[in-house]
């Protein structure tokens, strides 16, 4: 599908079982009927497991990124990301 705002192609990502369309141009996000509710439900499940976090300063990438890039979520940067999976090892290998 095309972005309703800037008409660039939109790409589909699956995040925790929720299909999200993101524009390759302006990086805007399109949610289908019910997807916002799904995300809200996932968020409340997450918050039940975790102590309350400070609000994210922004939901869009703070740095220019390629169209094939993963969505970056402002406010979630920090060092826990390094320890996710094997990224800590990956930083040091060819």
């Amino acid at each position: 599908m095309q972005c309703p705002k800037c008409h660039a192609p939109m790409h589909t990502y699956n995040r925790n079982g929720v299909q999200i369309e993101q524009c390759s141009g302006c990086r805007g996000i399109f949610l289908d009927y019910g997807e916002l509710e799904s995300l809200t439900r996932l968020e409340s499940q997450w918050q039940q497991q975790m102590p309350p976090a400070p609000p994210a300063p922004q939901a869009y990438p703070s740095a220019p990124a390629p169209a094939w890039g993963a969505p970056h979520h402002g406010g979630h940067h920090g060092h826990h990301g390094h320890h996710k999976g094997g990224f800590g090892r990956m930083l040091f290998s060819s």
Partner: protein
């Protein structure tokens, strides 16, 4: 990984270079001696202040000699070797280096992104004609091609298809099928956090190590591994921005100023493919599942198919 005789011989050689004046080892006990790496692409041992590296079998002696001479010529950027020439040991070329302290693998949040970027900017600004030569090509694209060959040799895996699709979409120069004609800067060729040391250890300035892939090529390649991590959602935007901004402020290559992505797109795709291909090959060999970071790289390869490089603004080369 290595011939059984190489490692003990290399250890003895490193010790010999550390104590060539005294003969016997006079290091205070316990001697800081260790095998720093033992892989197909190189075996590295340390004795005291000396690090000896046995380069990969088949390393071209002329190209290695030129790369060593470049390291000797750029002492504020690259760690200079202890000896200007490589020795031969068990049919492997061996080089000798002073010991430096690496980035702490347990504290990657302390990674010196600014120092790394500044060193790269200075490396890329070196006038190539004033260097010892002829300089071989930077080996980045060749290493990406080797990683894909390793993936193909590893046998079937469900993640292979998106990786190979992303690889097929790259321009020929990024797949080492044609020479890189659009840029000829001095490049490191294999930047990651293991390629930085402080010398003197702990207190000195950061320097780049490992000249095996050094040569002329597209400077964007040296930024492309952090770019690939960022684009795959692994490196936080904050750290990527620190790295990129420091590079730009240190006078990095003109094509990487303001909007670097037209120049970064193909190399960042290639590094994503390379890292994903090696991860899948290793996971297949070990009979294990991909971890979360490796899955993120495969996902990035999958998304590349939807945005061919020729559609990436200005990236056609």
């Amino acid at each position: 990984m290595t011939a059984p005789a190489l490692l003990p011989a290399l250890t003895v050689t490193a010790r010999g270079v550390a104590h060539r004046a005294q003969g016997a080892c006079t290091c205070p006990a316990p001697v800081p001696a260790a095998v720093l790496a033992d892989r197909a692409d190189g075996t590295v041992v340390r004795h005291g202040d000396v690090v000896a590296k046995a380069h990969a079998p088949g390393t071209d002696p002329t190209e290695l000699a030129t790369r060593l001479a470049v390291a000797s010529a750029l002492p504020g950027i690259l760690l200079p070797p202890l000896r200007p020439d490589a020795a031969e040991l068990h049919e492997r070329l061996v080089t000798f280096w002073p010991h430096g302290s690496p980035v702490d693998p347990d504290a990657p949040e302390l990674a010196p992104w600014e120092a790394a970027a500044t060193l790269l900017a200075r490396l890329h600004a070196v006038p190539v004609r004033q260097l010892p030569g002829p300089l071989p090509p930077m080996r980045g694209p060749a290493k990406a091609a080797l990683a894909v060959a390793r993936l193909l040799a590893a046998g079937p895996h469900p993640a292979s298809a998106p990786i190979l699709r992303a690889w097929a979409g790259l321009p020929p120069w990024a797949r080492a099928e044609t020479p890189t004609r659009h840029a000829a800067a001095l490049c490191h060729g294999d930047l990651h956090l293991g390629q930085l040391v402080r010398r003197p250890a702990g207190t000195g300035p950061w320097l780049l190590i490992d000249v095996d892939d050094l040569g002329t090529g597209d400077p964007a390649w040296d930024l492309a591994r952090p770019a690939a991590w960022f684009a795959s959602g692994l490196l936080p935007a904050e750290e990527w921005t620190r790295f990129l901004t420091a590079y730009q402020e240190a006078g990095g290559a003109p094509a990487l100023q303001s909007d670097p992505w037209p120049a970064l797109d193909a190399p960042a795709r290639a590094l994503t493919v390379q890292t994903a291909a090696l991860a899948v090959a290793k996971a297949t060999a070990a009979g294990r599942e991909l971890d979360e970071a490796e899955e993120a790289l495969v996902d990035a390869c999958d998304r590349m198919a939807a945005v061919p490089p020729e559609l990436a603004q200005g990236a056609a080369k």
